[in-house]
């Protein structure tokens, strides 16, 4: 087979018809404050880990809601659990608890 140097493109569109949002549902049941984020960015702005890595609690939650659980679970390991985001959140989202629930999901969600 001749290698033309092309590969098929993976669609980058978010397809909510096919998205698996089970983790989002599970988290909302376990900690209802998961649903209350208004994406203001206070958590990420104040994040100790986020100053040096790409980690963002807000983006992680957003990924989970879009069905990208795998990426989100990998992200959760970057958090240092310092809790500054919990102090900053204007909607009282229990950020640290959600991080630990996502970490647990790593081992329980297929």
């Amino acid at each position: 087979m001749i290698d033309f140097g092309f590969t098929p493109l993976v669609a980058s569109i978010t397809d909510l018809d096919k998205a698996n949002v089970n983790l989002a549902k599970q988290l909302t049941e376990q900690d209802p404050s998961f649903a209350l984020c208004i994406s203001c960015g206070s958590c990420s702005a104040t994040c100790t880990a986020g100053q040096f890595t790409k980690f963002s609690f807000r983006v992680m939650c957003h990924q989970i809601r879009k069905g990208n659980a795998k990426e989100a679970i990998a992200e959760a390991s970057k958090c240092m659990l310092c809790g500054k985001c919990t102090l900053a959140c204007p909607r009282n989202v229990n950020t640290r608890n959600i991080i630990s629930l996502v970490r647990k999901a790593q081992t329980t969600t297929p």
């Binding site: 203001c40 960015g41 958590c43 702005a45 104040t46 986020g50 900053a88 959140c89 204007p90 009282n92």
Partner: protein, 336 residues
């Protein structure tokens, strides 16, 4: 016999209610705790959406008072039901009235409660109300040192939509006020750089969206992210941090002046008067309406009415409308 109505509060709501009840032939007593009429509006320089001078609105309201008996520097301590009417004790004397209107307004959110923003700690962190005073005095913002600011940041939602300071509600008018003030800064100091840090821009009223567009075309930069903290750096300048949520990256910048868009908070003293009269307070801390949709100006207590921002954040137009509705309710009650 002419019936008497006592109106508590000499701001926009109180003045408009007084004006209407006056023209309906009632004897009106207006109680105002400070020495000036016009409430918060009297302290403002110009108004959204048309940048009209606030003093025009205040003088139009105060000049059309007719026979209203205005009692300034008079604090109402208690209102008691007696016979068919009410006894209002204010300063050291008692006044009788057949109906009472609470038009006590709001207080600005005390910005120092949001400690991480540095109000009261850093000299170039000011509030939207402080900026109006600067516009009144100098026609432009000035740094505490007297220097001309080059970079100014407006921080939306200070004391609004924030459960950490027990103010979970939107104060409605701060977004458009920030947009208005950003334009005014650009007009006064054309070489300045102006930034608005917002979460959602709620420009709901007539002409507000046009104002937003005007700000964009005048070069105001809008950054979608809530301020997390500020700190003072050399020269009294301020370093602020937020997340640029549209780019998903943390963001920091140094500015000469930070303007905190303070929201509207319920007045504790009003709520005491209200609860003593049997009125209830809603979840946000303001006086609760009997029916949010069909009776926003009535209360559970016969003869007691409410008008304006003591029922929740409001702009001038909606406050004037509420006051007119209240006056009609009072009239219907007294002529029943």
């Amino acid at each position: 016999m002419t019936k008497t109505v006592a109106i508590i509060g000499g701001g926009v709501a109180g003045l408009e209610t007084a004006k209407q009840l006056n023209s309906l032939g009632y004897s009106v007593k207006l109680f105002e705790k400070t020495n000036t009429l016009g409430g918060h509006v009297a302290k403002w320089d110009r108004l959204f959406p048309n940048k009209r001078h606030a003093s025009e609105v205040v003088s139009s309201l105060t000049l059309s008072q007719g026979n209203t008996q205005t009692l300034t520097e008079t604090t109402v301590h208690s209102i008691k039901r007696e016979n068919q009417g009410f006894v209002i004790s204010a300063n050291s004397s008692n006044h009788e009235a057949d109906a009472v209107v609470l038009a006590t307004g709001f207080e600005l959110f005390p910005a120092e409660k949001k400690e991480e923003y540095g109000y009261g700690l850093f000299e170039n962190v000011i509030t939207s109300a402080d900026l109006e005073q600067m516009f009144k005095k100098h026609g432009k913002p000035v740094m505490a040192s007297g220097h001309k600011p080059v970079r100014i940041a407006f921080i939306h939602c200070v004391g609004s939509r924030d459960e950490k300071v027990n103010r979970p509600y939107c104060s409605k008018v701060c977004c458009v006020t920030a947009v208005k003030q950003a334009i005014e800064v650009k007009e006064a100091l054309p070489n300045s750089e102006v930034f608005c840090f917002y979460m959602d821009l709620r420009t709901f009223g007539p002409g507000y969206e046009d104002l937003y567009k005007e700000a964009q075309s005048k070069g105001v930069t809008f950054i979608r992210g809530r301020l997390s903290e500020s700190s003072e750096i050399e020269g009294g300048r301020v370093l602020i941090k937020a997340e640029d949520t549209l780019a998903s990256t943390p963001l920091k910048m140094s500015v000469d002046i930070v303007v905190l868009m303070v929201g509207m908070s319920p007045l504790r003293s009003t709520n005491k008067l209200a609860t003593d009269l049997g009125l209830s307070i809603n979840a946000d801390g303001f006086i609760a309406a009997t029916d949010l949709h069909t009776n926003p100006t009535g209360t559970a207590t016969n003869g007691v009415f409410v008008a304006g921002a003591c029922t929740g954040p409001n702009n001038i137009t909606d406050t004037v409308n509420a006051a007119k509705a209240t006056a009609l309710d009072v009239h219907n009650y007294l002529s029943r």
